[in-house]
């Protein structure tokens, strides 16, 4: 929608051009809405803190800079190192697993809650508030609560013992696959409410009459969902999946708090590698190469997803 409005403004600008040439009453009155230089501080700030820095970051990626002193242009050497290093490839794999797992689970569960709480239930307003609550809390704080849940003497193992399932007790964060699953659970748990709110906004646009008509024609709830609602909430699906994919690819806080990338680097992601390589080991060039890879990954997936979801319309 934003793109549409911008295009409309651009079109309006085109149409308005002839009258603007002749300096008359109309011009002075249109210009009375603000001075152009009011936008200057924001524009300069964005160019400096976002565009210039991103360009410099991309440049670092092709150097061997250590953060201080001299640097050499090394071409693609950093990227060759990434693709030859099993730990870096592991981080890439973990990032993709977490991002796609997060995309699927948070959207499916969030949509489930949205459908349940859309209308009809008496407790829906209270429940919406409660389900959304984790979204507003710092991910690092949430991660520490869950670290306790997964601790060896924590609630999860205690509950298993209570149910007589001692054989399933684990040191959940010490085993690579389980630790990755634990990180995924924490990410999903915190974002269910976020997906739910986007889907609720989408469901609110579904005309009740159409659903009722389908029901009168004998369509059950499942049929109604896939034949009617599904098409109406396409824009919500596009937004929610794109945002969760971006969020998933950038996963950092949960990994730092739950496993710190361990055991033995098995749960590292691209974002934690960027941090470690750059700010702990002082490999600015190599860290920038990783960051460039992560950024390209985010851009490519965002664009691809926009294409995919748009084609379905």
């Amino acid at each position: 929608m934003s793109v549409v409005t911008t295009q409309t403004t651009a079109a309006a600008a085109q149409l308005d051009r002839p009258p603007r040439r002749r300096r008359g009453k109309a011009t002075s009155y249109r210009l009375s809405f603000g001075h152009w230089w009011w936008a200057l501080p924001a524009v300069v700030l964005v160019i400096v803190t976002i565009y210039v820095t991103t360009a410099f970051g991309a440049f670092y990626a092709f150097t061997d800079w250590s953060g201080i002193g001299k640097w050499n242009w090394v071409g693609l050497e950093n990227f060759q190192k990434i693709f030859k290093n099993p730990e870096m490839l592991g981080s890439l794999k973990n990032t993709l697993i977490l991002a796609f797992g997060f995309l699927v689970l948070s959207n499916v569960i969030g949509l489930g809650f949205a459908l349940a709480l859309n209308r009809g239930l008496k407790s829906r307003y209270v429940l919406r508030t409660l389900v959304f609550m984790p979204v507003v809390i710092a991910p690092i704080a949430v991660s520490y609560i869950w670290k306790f849940v997964f601790a060896y003497d924590g609630p999860l193992n205690q509950t298993l013992a209570l149910l007589g399932l001692e054989q399933y007790q684990q040191d959940w964060l010490a085993e690579p696959t389980l630790a990755l699953a634990a990180i995924l659970i924490v990410m999903v748990w915190q974002s269910i409410g976020f997906a739910m709110v986007i889907y609720l906004a989408g469901l609110a646009t579904v005309p009740q009459e159409i659903e009722e008509a389908a029901a009168l024609d004998g369509a059950g709830p499942i049929r109604r969902f896939f034949s009617v609602v599904w098409y109406q909430i396409q824009p919500s699906i596009a937004i929610a999946t794109t945002l969760s994919l971006i969020q998933g690819l950038r996963v950092f806080d949960q990994v730092m708090a739950l496993t710190a990338g361990g055991p033995a680097g098995a749960t590292q992601t691209l974002a934690t590698q960027v941090y470690q390589q750059t700010f702990q080991f002082g490999n600015f060039g190599f860290g920038a190469a990783l960051a460039l890879m992560l950024s390209l990954l985010i851009l490519v997936f965002t664009v691809a997803q926009q294409r995919l979801t748009r084609d379905r319309d």
Binding site: V43, M133, A291
Partner: protein
């Protein structure tokens, strides 16, 4: 048509149970923060503390205890940086978005694209040169430097949210004020900006939450300084405690309280802010 039947009741019960299951971690957080270190080790994690104790909170918050200095400094840093960033985003974002929404010139819509693209652009890459730049300028570890960086990084969001609201504002208010002889500045400050209360609220809530909860940026820019924000303080503090969950959970709870209080007072605004901010 959609009457409240027995099936609806069943659906209601199942949904309530699912929501309760979802909130178990909060229950654990509260009960564990009210236990002594010994109770944590000897009782079930799910049990209510017998008797509940506030000694963890006293330990963390009473001025003469060892932990409190970090907690208070963290709270202060978080509050200052969040407030500074919000003020900057409103003061610079609102007039900029107003110009973009009202100007019909070609450069204005082109410049606006600059902001739209910046929203999609991943920040990871820019943070590294931002760090070296801030280091050169001596902005590392400074709360104002941090707030300044947030204002830059979140400006596209602020301008985007504001311009959505400004576009929907009819021109008539400004026209009649202009006819009455009000200056451009006067029109914006006394008429347009006050009408933009909902937009300002949305920007403040979204940007405020992002800054307050952010961990990555302050970890890089503020760690080791006196101005580390709460997420970094928690991270360092937990690192120094080995599985003292009662204390860990008390500090986690303290960091959440300001946000949760605000959330329950203005939950509609929060949820609308998220949904509305994304609809654009």
């Amino acid at each position: 048509m959609f009457r409240y039947t027995k099936l609806t009741l069943l659906r209601e019960v199942i949904t309530i149970l699912a929501a309760i299951a979802l909130l178990v971690p909060f229950y654990l957080l509260i009960v564990t923060s009210l236990k002594t270190g010994e109770q944590v080790l000897t009782t079930s994690s799910l049990s209510w503390p017998q008797p509940p104790t506030t000694e963890n909170f006293q330990f963390l918050l009473s001025p003469d205890s060892t932990g409190s200095e970090q907690v208070f400094q963290g709270l202060l840093a978080s509050a200052l940086i969040t407030a500074g960033a919000i003020v900057g985003l409103i003061a610079l974002g609102a007039p900029a978005a107003y110009v973009f929404a009202r100007s019909t010139s070609r450069w204005s819509s082109r410049t606006f694209y600059l902001f739209l693209i910046a929203i999609i652009l991943p920040t990871q890459l820019g943070v590294l040169p931002l760090y070296t730049g801030a280091r050169r300028l001596g902005l590392l570890g400074s709360p104002w430097g941090m707030a300044f960086i947030y204002v830059g990084l979140l400006m596209p969001l602020s301008v985007f949210l504001y311009s959505n609201f400004f576009r929907r504002l009819p021109h008539e208010y400004e026209e009649s004020a202009a006819i009455d002889g009000a200056s451009k500045t006067r029109i914006f400050v006394s008429i347009v900006f006050p009408l933009m209360g909902p937009a300002t609220g949305t920007v403040a809530i979204l940007a405020g939450l992002i800054v307050w909860n952010d961990f990555f940026t302050p970890l890089i820019f503020l760690n080791g300084s006196d101005w580390a924000t709460l997420p970094v303080v928690i991270y360092n503090y937990v690192g120094s405690l080995i599985s003292q969950w009662n204390l860990i959970f008390a500090i986690v709870l303290i960091s959440m309280v300001p946000i949760l209080v605000l959330y329950f007072f203005a939950q509609k605004k929060f949820i609308q802010g998220y949904a509305g901010g994304l609809k654009g």
